[in-house]
């Protein structure tokens, strides 16, 4: 899915894991696209692990965080483990300030 200002979500289904790669700015405008693309894939995935890759997210706000949390809810609904891929920087710091960093495991 490609949209505003180069934002895109790529979903890749392997045998062992469903990988959701988010690219661009994850905010109030783009968050619905993440939820739309990722939620259905997660709910219909047979792979035991879901990886949400945020390493190419250049900006994330509280609405963007909600999108990530909704992916986590969808994974829990399916009994799947959700793993985040993040690098040090604004996204990681937002997770820390929001007090949700330990709600996830990391790649």
């Amino acid at each position: 899915v490609t949209g505003d200002s180069g934002f895109s979500v790529e979903v890749h289904l392997g045998d062992e894991c469903l990988r959701v790669s988010v690219i661009g700015e994850l905010d109030i405008a783009t968050e619905p696209k993440l939820v739309e693309s990722a939620r259905e894939s997660i709910l219909s995935s047979d792979a035991p692990t879901v990886v949400v890759d945020l390493t190419l997210v250049s900006f994330m706000d509280s609405s963007g965080l909600r999108g990530v949390l909704m992916c986590r809810d969808a994974a829990q609904e399916r009994g799947l483990a959700l793993v985040l891929a993040v690098k040090d920087g604004p996204v990681r710091r937002l997770l820390d300030v929001a007090g949700v960093a330990d709600w996830f495991t990391y790649e």
Partner: protein, 274 residues
């Protein structure tokens, strides 16, 4: 005029009529749009005012000042603040509801009035966040249900004031000591309203006369430090020269430092000890 010329002229006339009608309907649409926008701004403004205290109360030994900016005038912002007199002093709240518009306003209203109810008797900041978290997790069955909050209990003491802070996914408030030293207060805890087992932690501090407590939203931080920035170093640098000033003076100076291009909602509240 022959028959062919008459036909051409009437074709031309029809074209002109079509063009006129298009222009007329465009003008009408523009007028309608302007009116819709005015109505939206009016609704947003009225709703916004209902979510903020009309005046800040008088609490002995303390002075308050708050500032509020919305990113877009035709939508209700997600930021809010409140000051509530309590049995032992006051409760001070700064929050940021996830999202914008009517849904964020409903969440803000629920949070504001839940907190106003909880602090009536025998309350603590962490207890208030736990109660609010319970209310939101149980009653908001939609994803527009979380917010970040800083809640402080402040009471006057013999030599200043005692403050206790609890955070829910919110940037740490800053104490501006009279000598310009800046100290962050609060312990990181999860956002409020998403997960039923969230635990909130209290941190206490002493404020002396001339000290001030500044609570703010991430929009304030970003307006000072840059988009997406969560580091409070720039904000500390703005506040440090303001040591010893009153809440009103600190609020004016911080407001001036926000810059003109505020992209997110921004709210902050300053409490100074007299």
């Amino acid at each position: 005029l022959n028959g062919g010329e008459v036909a051409t002229l009437s074709d031309l006339a029809a074209l002109v009529m079509d063009e006129l009608e298009l222009r007329l309907s465009a003008r009408t649409a523009l007028g309608l749009e302007a009116e819709l926008r005015r109505t939206a701004e009016d609704v947003a403004g009225t709703l916004q005012q209902s979510l903020l205290p009309p005046t800040l109360p008088d609490v002995k030994g303390l002075e308050f000042a708050a500032r509020y900016h919305v990113a877009t005038r035709d939508q209700v912002g997600g930021d809010f603040y409140d000051v509530i007199p309590t049995e032992l002093g006051c409760a001070v709240v700064v929050g940021d509801a996830c999202g914008k518009g009517a849904k964020a306003a409903a969440l803000t209203g629920t949070a504001r009035w839940t907190l106003r109810t909880v602090v009536l008797h025998d309350w603590t900041p962490a207890g208030a966040l736990t109660r609010l978290n319970d209310v939101l997790v149980r009653s908001f069955d939609n994803p527009e249900r979380y917010l970040t909050l800083a809640v402080a209990a402040i009471s006057a003491t013999e030599d200043g004031a005692a403050v206790t802070v609890a955070l829910g996914g919110h940037p740490r408030p800053l104490i501006v000591h009279a000598d310009g030293h800046i100290e962050a207060i609060g312990t990181t805890a999860p956002i409020v309203g998403w997960q039923s087992d969230a635990e909130f932690v209290e941190t206490a501090a002493k404020l002396l006369p001339g000290d001030a407590l500044v609570l703010f939203t991430d929009g304030t931080l970003e307006a000072v430090a840059g988009r997406g920035e969560t580091d409070d170093a720039r904000l500390r640098a703005v506040l440090s020269p303001l040591g010893g000033r009153t809440a009103g003076q600190i609020a004016d100076a911080l407001d001036a430092a926000l810059g003109d291009d505020i992209r997110d909602d921004a709210a902050f509240l300053v409490v100074s000890v007299l």
